[in-house]
């Protein structure tokens, strides 16, 4: 198949909707569904009936502002979110009013302005289709230009060409590690061996992170397309997507996408009439945070307990069943199609010197606009929290923002002007992580937060290596004493010691980074620890 043929197909799919002028888009991602989006969709369908042929009611993916759900957007067919009229907190009873407004004046009482910074300041690459196309529709994806990058790669580029574009793009692993994607792909491509694997890590375990879930629920074909391009570039023919069992909707949409892509010849044997064959299988996680670590994840795919093993050898050399394996995260794969389409240099023109492109963040906690955003790398934390996020609600003041989940740290007010990229966050003692940002206000105790994360790491430790297994237990014990004002100055000194030991001697990332929440809160909020000491000020 050539690009022209695909373009014809896309035009054909578009023509099926030629009579449609306006779309009523209902967010059907998990968060809005929990607020009753399915009932709203039903009510809209019923109210419309066979009337208004030029208007189409359509279920779409995440529109970002999860706290205002269910969200409904009324738009001209080709318009994006910014060009649509957005309604918030929609109830089934509002259906008739919304349909009545199509093509006329908006329903002011439900309106959520799209010119506010939350929407206007974003730049969407990964989420470009999210909230616009129907995630369950293969035709919708193709009509929006989907699978063109795969066909382009297969018909016009050699695997080396693809590797060159990805390397030039400067894309770094979006799972949090920040390893250069082009380098990883090139290493796997260079490895000898007939059998290679591609794995998509969708085990989004960081509490407070829901970027990957939104991508899978909103645009599943995009991830499959990225994986297929990756497999072509590194010479693999088989892939696994390892998804959390806690994300049933994402799993359902992925299964549907895989089935339809297979039927259309974009997965399976001889894709797009070339010699390239590629199979994708879903593997469900079973609730173990440590399985986000790549070697543990592979053990889990092999049906074993999800326990990590020492690296090297890295998965690129010896991964799944001992074969060279490429592991990338959902968001990394979702960036691939646009990079192939627009070129590596285009992608490299966005972002900062060492962190290219955009990053999707999940804003949660004590912040006005809870939801999902995508901004260029290098946007400052202050912009993200105060401008895009709308600041702290209820007249409270900002205290800290936590990034990187249990492996990250808390950043205080003083550093909010730091542009966000992989390296700047590291200098602050935290990390990018997968993109969860939890905002805390003056009412949160930092010692309590540190204890919370330590409890998390303690329970999630797989138990294989001693420093992590017993170290997290001991640290949790001290933090627990601290929160009850029963710890002494010696305990605090011991806690700091343990942080160093666990960091330096644990086997995998979970243990090595488990002390981060403690270290960063000690660094910026030491006063709070001091105040909790037994028999001293404030105790």
């Amino acid at each position: 198949m050539h690009l022209e043929e695909l373009a014809e197909k896309a035009a054909e799919f578009k023509a099926e909707d030629a009579h449609v002028e306006h779309e009523v888009r209902v967010c059907m991602a998990a968060s809005c569904q929990s607020s009753g989006a399915a009932q709203v969709m039903d009510a809209l369908d019923k109210a419309k009936g066979d009337g208004q042929p030029a208007c189409k009611v359509k279920g779409v993916g995440c529109m970002g502002l999860c706290s205002a759900g269910p969200l409904v957007a009324v738009a001209d067919k080709e318009a994006d979110l910014a060009g649509s009229v957005l309604y918030r907190d929609v109830a089934p009873e509002d259906a008739a009013d919304i349909l009545g407004s199509v093509g006329g004046s908006p329903v002011e009482r439900l309106r959520c302005p799209t010119d506010q910074p939350f929407f206007a300041r974003q730049r969407k690459i990964v989420l470009e289709n999210s909230g616009i196309i129907d995630p369950n529709s293969f035709k919708g994806y193709v009509a929006a230009g989907g699978y063109a990058s795969l066909v382009q790669a297969l018909s016009e580029m050699t695997p080396a060409d693809v590797l060159r574009e990805i390397t030039a793009s400067g894309l770094r692993g979006r799972g949090g590690g920040g390893y250069p994607t082009g380098l990883k792909w090139s290493t796997v491509a260079k490895m000898p061996g007939e059998q290679k694997y591609v794995i998509c890590n969708a085990d989004e375990g960081d509490p407070g992170a829901f970027m990957d879930r939104a991508v899978l629920e909103s645009d599943p074909h995009r991830v499959l397309e990225g994986m297929a391009i990756a497999a072509y570039a590194v010479g693999a023919s088989k892939a696994y997507i390892y998804v959390r069992a806690e994300y049933p909707l994402a799993v359902e949409r992925l299964q549907n996408a895989i089935r339809k892509a297979k039927r259309a010849g974009f997965l399976g044997n001889k894709i797009a009439d070339t010699q390239f064959s590629f199979e994708v299988e879903i593997r469900l996680g079973a609730g173990a945070f440590v399985c986000g670590e790549e070697t543990a994840l592979m053990a889990s795919i092999e049906g074993l307990r999800g326990q990590p093993r020492p690296r090297p050898p890295y998965p690129a050399e010896s991964g799944l069943w001992g074969c060279p394996t490429l592991i990338n995260n959902v968001e990394s794969f979702a960036n691939i199609a646009p990079i192939v389409r627009e070129g590596g240099d285009w992608f490299a023109s966005i972002g900062t010197e060492k962190s290219k492109g955009t990053k999707v963040f999940a804003l949660a906690g004590k912040i006005a606009n809870t939801g999902l955003i995508e901004v260029p790398m290098g946007t400052t934390l202050r912009d993200i929290i105060e401008v895009i996020g709308g600041g702290i609600p209820d007249g409270k003041t900002f205290k800290a923002v936590q990034t990187g989940g249990p492996s990250g740290g808390c950043i205080p007010e003083a550093h909010l002007d730091m542009p966000v990229d992989y390296d700047s966050l590291k200098t602050l003692g935290t990390m990018m992580g997968s993109g969860g940002m939890i905002v805390m206000d003056e009412t949160s105790s930092m010692v309590d937060v540190a204890r919370y994360f330590m409890e998390f790491c303690m329970t999630e430790s797989c138990g294989k290596c001693v420093p992590c297994r017993t170290g997290t237990y001991q640290m949790h014990g001290i933090l627990d004493k601290l929160t009850k004002s029963q710890a002494s100055r010696d305990d605090l000194a011991l806690l700091e010691d343990l942080c160093e030991v666990v960091q330096a001697t644990s086997l995998c990332g979970l243990g090595q980074t488990a002390p981060n929440p403690v270290l960063s809160t000690l660094r910026y909020f030491r006063q709070e620890y001091e105040e909790k000491l037994q028999g001293e000020t404030g105790a």
Binding site: S34, A209, F210, E246, A286, G405
Partner: protein, 164 residues
């Protein structure tokens, strides 16, 4: 080509075993499909009892110790039956900051059960989860499979009271 081992008969004539067998067949009875198989047992029966673990071990030609090791390693697998209703309180960071603790306290106060426990009348099991990804609705619980968000401890207990 490995030698085919004899597959065990279904433990009872309960039709649900067929679902389990179907999962194993789809995966070619490969030992790496163990987790998939345990998922399907739990979906069919609600939890993993010893009979199931023995059946799966024999079917996939795995030592029982290994099956038990996997079943106990992953949080999602339950070795004890749940109550008629399950309330999973999300304890992810966003929910924690917004008061997941108060929800658990509210439940304990009303029903006298903590996370991981079931009420004596088998009505309600209380569980906790590491982030269900509904941070926009924090604090959230998953009540019999449906995510319910923006809860206070009073509204949650009122919802639980409505269950039969």
């Amino acid at each position: 080509m490995t030698l085919q081992h004899a597959r065990p008969p279904m433990p009872t004539d309960d039709k649900r075993w067929k679902l389990v067998n179907a999962t194993m067949r789809r995966n070619g009875y490969a030992d790496h499909a163990l987790i998939e198989t345990l998922h399907s047992v739990q979906n069919a029966f609600g939890y993993l009892e010893e009979t199931s673990l023995r059946f799966v071990a024999a079917s996939l030609d795995l030592p029982l110790s290994k099956v038990f090791g996997v079943a106990t390693f992953y949080h999602i697998f339950m070795l004890k039956p749940k109550g008629r209703h399950a309330c999973v309180v999300c304890t992810g960071t966003a929910c924690y900051i917004k008061g997941a603790g108060a929800l658990l306290e509210g439940i304990e106060e009303r029903y006298g059960v903590n996370s991981g426990e079931t009420t004596e009348d088998d009505k309600l099991s209380v569980l906790t989860a590491r982030c269900v990804g509904a941070c926009g609705l924090a604090p959230a619980v998953v009540l019999d499979g449906d995510v319910v968000g923006k809860l206070g401890s009073d509204t949650l207990v009122a919802k639980l009271e409505e269950l039969d």
